[in-house]
Each structure stands twice: as structure tokens, then as C-alpha cells.
Homo-oligomer: 384 residues x 2
Amino acid sequence: MAYFDNAATTFPKPECVYDFMNTFYRECGGNAGRGSHKFSIGAGKMVSETRNRLKQLLHCENKQIIFTSSATIALNMILQGFLDGKKTEGANVYISPFEHNAVTRILHHYEKIGKISVRLLAIKVNLTYDFEKIQTQFTKETPDLVVVSHASNVIGLISPVEKLCAMAKKYKAVTVIDMAQTAGLVDINVGLETIDFAVFAGHKTLYGPTGISGFAMKPDFDLKPVLFGGTGFESANQDMPKDIPQRYEMGTLNIAGIAGLYASLGWILENGVGTLWEKEQEHRKELLDILSSYDFIRILGVGEKNDYVGIVSCVIDGLPSDTAASVFAEKNIAVRSGLQCAPLAHKTLGTFPSGTVRFSCNAFTGDGDFVQLSQTLEFIKKNI
Amino acid sequence: MAYFDNAATTFPKPECVYDFMNTFYRECGGNAGRGSHKFSIGAGKMVSETRNRLKQLLHCENKQIIFTSSATIALNMILQGFLDGKKTEGANVYISPFEHNAVTRILHHYEKIGKISVRLLAIKVNLTYDFEKIQTQFTKETPDLVVVSHASNVIGLISPVEKLCAMAKKYKAVTVIDMAQTAGLVDINVGLETIDFAVFAGHKTLYGPTGISGFAMKPDFDLKPVLFGGTGFESANQDMPKDIPQRYEMGTLNIAGIAGLYASLGWILENGVGTLWEKEQEHRKELLDILSSYDFIRILGVGEKNDYVGIVSCVIDGLPSDTAASVFAEKNIAVRSGLQCAPLAHKTLGTFPSGTVRFSCNAFTGDGDFVQLSQTLEFIKKNI
């Protein structure tokens, strides 16, 4: 299969990920932080080393790493925890016009109960941020919370999160960046004082397995727990413990998943984020070259001055996106159609509600994949 | 290592679990329910078949299976969803006196904000339920919600959940049973009309990996979503979709984990729950025989007329539980000490706050484990 669905989940994973998950879980299948025996201690050390690798990769020794099962749960814990903890009503929440349902559905809930107003950060026609307008927005309606996905899961466009967070911090807003499509791929300094929370998805750009994600947070941030349970720590206390990460990690951790992430992080650190970034950029270029050579394909949201991860969305004349995805599937090519869980991004791009066909590559995308894609596009050209 | 920490997580897993997880994730690492390509459809079918196997095992074709990352998250979704959805304040929540922090910490939060009163179901001195007293309790303070763990994670005592749920249903209470220590081991009919929710933990008695758990629920139960996000389904809708399971499954499912659970469920169904139950009962008997042959060991909460899963808690004279666990760890025996995340159970048993040493077996516990245990107890007898 020619796999162009890496924005959903990267595939394949580096060989060491499959190997280490398998070996570690077979040989050391304990429950971390819940006992003093060899397995449990072995699991505990591996979990702790995985946190260290994440801190190294994201340049945030000054932050704490919290593990969750998915980036979506991480966003729920952060956004709900902050908004539930806020005593005054009517918070101003600014988001990028490219946010995923993982953000917008949470905020929609708080909007419905009248607790927040959601506002979109201003952008220009070329999809770059309009900092001047944003300045005016912030002056008129002071931001309490700013949530920006570091790269759009629809068109791959990278946001200037450092600048946006710095602007927001001048108003003491809480800042959240969603790095689901960028952690381990786009090298930024998550350790910045202006970034309060950064969410990562283990199974996407971090090349780990499903079921393990999380976030980096400032250790002194008073985030209200919204999920409760046993922590193997301060068990007599019926409140969640004050200590981090235990305060936000209830129930048994996904040891098998963390083992996979441990291995994938080792692989990324060994290869270097820069090398992986360059590979993916080459693949993105090849993808763009192929797609743009057909006049019945309209590529969306690509501006020359912008930076992008390896995600390209397009509309195929005469082929609705779901039909197109089926044609590709028949030809054994994996793409994603429709709204990609990001209706807001499609409204911004003018492709709502029909959506797009999304192609996404990774460091492993190879010549064979591109040949298969070209052949299928030739087939579409002749037959449809 | 002699592994007596199966109540934390079963180890080893059946060989097919490691194998299938590894193979499936290498060969078919797609994202379920998010695309039309071969990988995604393959993952989707496997996920759907895993739900079917769970329904078969728990005898609940009439219920829906929701996947979560842990039993703790499942309990949060159920208890918070029900309590947040309740319009009137002051609900009466009855729980067993053996509940885990996964239940009590959630309820403590609602108690603190004045939304509920938590009451303990009455038991007798021999730890059996006092149905007469419970009847009186229910008459005086009508139950709105009843939460009972099917087996105590501290002493393995099995609760008569069918009878308790039937009693609760006469008052139209919502019933939740926590089968973290019993699903796939104690054969009950989860399909009963009197059971609204049943929680399972994939990595415990179901012999699956960490990171995959969930619950069975009545499809027509109007449970308020408490977590929000993308579902790959009805993406334009900013509310969580009405359809189940999507309404309660946000973000990417743990495909690698579900693959492991799929394999372990196949293994359980093939062996038969009865066979696994009998094996574990034999192992429990052997454990009890060994432990009770030392007069410095006091076994807790074992009554002749009660039923137990393979969990035995004890106090060792002159050895605080944490010290004892270290001694066992040195001798390469895995046990669990302290409060086992269940301070309430220890208060009930009179072992709070010092806790116990907990031994827990599974179907794989073998002669070698018991020999090693006996040798270590001889060592303790002579040296401590």
C-alpha cells in the first residue's frame, strides 16, 4: 500500500518501536509506580526516561511531562481544567481558524453553557496571521486563553506559535499549543516562558504507537484536575495529590505504549529532528510536484512564504472527496477525505462541507509510493 | 520472577497477545474509523470484532461496548456523566465499603461541591452484605446511584452484584459494577436489565495489554458526555454525535491495544471462562495453604461462605507491609504492599493506614512461583 495517511497516524513505525514494545512487554510487563518489585521498577524507570527524552526533544527541562492516552484527552484536561478553575464567567478564548474538533468541540461545550466567548485569531487572505489585527482584537477583548495548533492537520500550514504566544502573554493569557502534527518534526523551544501547555500525540509525528500522548506544562501552573482516580501515590488522600505528574495521571499507565514511545523518541533523537524535517520536506515537494502537474487538481492553502509539514489537501474536479478516497483505496493508496475532523479549517479554506482529499507523507514515504500515486492520477485523468 | 501481582496487571499475557499485537500493528497499523483505505478498514473490522467478543464474553448483546484507555477513565465518564447530567442536587450515592480510589476520588469531588451524599452499603461482621439493613438504607435514603466493585482489589471478595443491582433498581437507581478484577474470570450476565453500566480493565483479568479498557452500557441511556473531541464521524456537528459508541470515543483509538485485547478475548473464549476460573481457584487455594501454614501471617477478610478471586491480602507480624514488599522484591517475588489504591477497603478491614501485603495469582501462576514463595517465607520465619 502507498501510505499517504500519516497525518492520521504515521506508518510504518521505525523497526525499533515494534521490537522494543514487543520485547519490553514480554520481559518486563509490570505496572509502573505501583510496586517495589523488579518489573514495576523496570517499568517505572522506562517511563521516567521517556519523560526525559520528551523534555530533551522539546527543549523543556523546565516543564513537566504528563502522559495521557491521546492528544484529545490532553486537550480536555488542559482546557476543561483551566476553564473549570476560572472563577469569573465570560472568558475570551482565542483560537486559530484551523483548529481541530479536539479543540472546538470542547470549547463549544463551554460556549453553550455561556462560560466563554470563542474568537478566531485574524488571518490575511494568504493565510498568514494578521498580527496588527490580532493586536487590535486583544486590546478590544482581552484574551484569557489562546489555543493554536502548531500545524494544520488539513493543509499542514505551520503557525508562528512563538510569536502568537508572546503576544498573548502580554495580556497574561494562558497559552496552549497543539503539537499533534509537529512534535519531533518542527523544532521549537517548548521551554519558553510564554508557552504554558504543549500537547503531543505519540502516534503521529513522534512515530510511537497509538494509546500514548500527553502534554508539557509549567510545574507551578494550578490546573484543576478534571479526572480522578488512583495514582499509586498518597492513596489515603481522597483529593488528587498535589504532586505532578501524579495529579494528572490517574489509573494504570499504558506501559506497552510508553515502551513504544521510548523507542521512537530514541530513534528521533538519534536521527535528529532536522534530518527528519528535511526528509519530510523533500517528500512534500515531490507530492506537490506530482499533484500540481494535473490541471484537474486544485491544491489548497499553499502560499509561497509559509512553512508547511508534509500534509497537502486538494480538491479534484468532478470527483467528490469521498469518491476520490474510494478510487485511491481501490488502487491501494491510503489518503483521507472529507473534513478530517476539522470543519473550522474547511470553513476558513472555503471547502466546507464537501472537504478535501488529504495526502500526508512522513520520513518513510518512498519512491514506490510516489510512482503508485502518479499511476493512479494518470488513471483518474483518463477515466474520470 | 515469581509474579504475585496479577491484580495490578496480569503477567504474562497469553503468547497470542504479544504475537497478534506485534503482527497486526506492523502489518495493519491504520487508524480505525477515519478512512476508507485498506489499513483503516482492517483496523475498523478488528475493533468491531473486539466489541463483539466482549459482548459474547459478558453476555450482553443488548448493550453497547465503549472503549476507554483505562477502567479509571471509564468510571470518570460514567459517574461524572450521570452526576453532571442530573438536574437536582443532593443525589444519594451508595457504594460498597471496598471501593477503589478510581470510584471514591471521583465521588469525593462531587461530595465536596455539595452535589451528592456518599453512603456505604451495609455489611455484616463476616463481610457479607446485610441485605436487610440495605433495604432499610434504601427506604430511608432512596438511592440514585449504586456503584459496586464486583471483586475487591484488596481481598478478592466477590460481591453479589446481581442481587444488589436488583435491589437498587426497585428504586430506579442507576447501577454501575466495576469488573476490573472479574471480567473474563467471574461469569455473570451483564445483559441483565438491572445493570446499567459494567466497567472492564483490558490488562487485568482480560489478559490484554495496558491502555485499553472500557464499559458496557445500555444503548438508550442518556449519559452526558464529559470529554469532547473528534470522532471521525459527523465532523461538522460541534456537539458530540448522538450515536454510540462514537458519542463516548473521542480521539484516535488505541489500535495496538485493541489488537492485543482482541487476541486475549479469543484466548479466553477458547479456553472458557469456567476453566480459567477453576485454575485461578486452585492457585488461590495453594496460596492460602502456604500462607496459612505460618503463624506469623494473618490473612485478611477470608470467610468460608464467601467467594473470592485469586487475591489474598495479609499482615505479617513484625514486618510493616512496605518492608515486607521489599523483602519479597529482593527474593525476586512480585507482591503489592500498602493500601493498593483502596483506603476505604482498608478502613473496612481495619488495616488502615498501614495496609497489607497482597498476593494475587492468575491462570499462569505455576509450581515454581509457589516453591519460591515458600522458600522466602521460610527465610522470613528464620530471619525476621
